[in-house]
Symmetry: C2
Subunit: 196 residues, 2 copies
């Protein structure tokens, strides 16, 4: 039986966490990147498909290259971040299932290309959320973005992987509190929820 | 500047959390359902779109009704769970943006139906992950599932909302440790990650 996490932890993960537009001049180490992934990879994906594919743009050069594909409002957010993560997915993730889900023939469940695309996108999105909350759990901040040219980033960063696709981006670092605005309104429970 | 959460918290959220197939006979209260959502709704969605739509099947009757649409292997998991959550999305989430993202005309960004569907699915998946980790943070366990008839659940549970779609399911409760098997292998960092 587990306890509820402390209020400080719930604040850090959810209630006081924000999406940052600007970043303190404080790096994110390769070790921290590994720590984030080592936590996030434990999160559930359907048939342990682990369909997410991740490129962590940590050098100035890689972030400049990524910024080229971003909308005007996102270019500087990418350039200034210690790390900007590309969250992608593998349209042929099922090829990995014989070792990721070894106790049954799960690969055969995903013969249909549309089903595979749907799964690849849903589960890589879940993994991106696990990564963001893992980063927050480790004391870092996030700034997710979807304003960019997915095809351009796919061509540029997944050139050697013809079945991988870029889906969204997330800057990671120590957020600059002066870079954020008031929080957008959150719905009451009853607006989008029903208990039946 | 935030601290890293305690090892016990990281274990509870990620390292020792598992997807459960069976459940202890211990209810999840309506108050706990609200607590889960109140945390999860703080997580980021693109332009605060909050595209997820959630039906929490808490009564035996509703879970029986849901189980009808599930694959053979998932029917009993749904019937036996204290709560089974339907994670859906609203194809017309943009209609809500004037109040969810009030400082600019974000509704006009989502005129394209394909872009809207992609956003609705990606962001509701993120929200589902926030909900699962919030449940774990509150001491509960999860059992996500995608083996069911999405169209059937949409017709049955979103009948009054013609633009809402059921996407996946997640049982929530106090997991029965005798109901789980060994953990499926997790990839090393280098398998699906690159730092550039």
């Amino acid at each position: 039986m587990h306890e509820t996490l402390s209020d400080a932890a719930l604040d850090q993960l959810y209630r006081e966490a924000r999406s940052y537009n600007g970043w303190l001049d404080k790096p994110v180490s390769e070790e921290q990147v590994h720590q984030i992934y080592e936590l996030a990879k434990m999160g559930p994906t359907s048939a342990n498909q682990q369909s997410g594919r991740f490129v962590w743009c940590r050098s100035q050069e890689s972030r400049e290259r990524l910024a080229i594909h971003a909308s005007e409002g996102n270019k500087d957010k990418i350039r200034a971040a210690p790390v900007c993560l590309i969250i992608g997915y593998d349209l042929d993730f099922h090829e990995q299932l014989p070792w990721l889900f070894p106790h049954t023939d799960a690969k055969s469940w995903f013969k249909d290309e549309d089903l595979r695309r749907e799964n690849a996108k849903r589960n890589s999105a879940l993994q991106g959320a696990y990564l963001m909350l893992a980063a927050r759990a480790l004391g870092l901040d996030c700034g997710p973005m979807s304003g960019f040219d997915q095809d351009g980033v796919t061509r540029d960063f997944f050139a050697d992987q013809p079945r991988w696709r870029a889906d969204w981006l997330c800057s990671i670092g120590h957020g600059d509190r002066s870079s954020i605005f008031g929080r957008s309104p959150r719905p009451d429970f009853g607006t989008f929820n029903t208990i039946v």
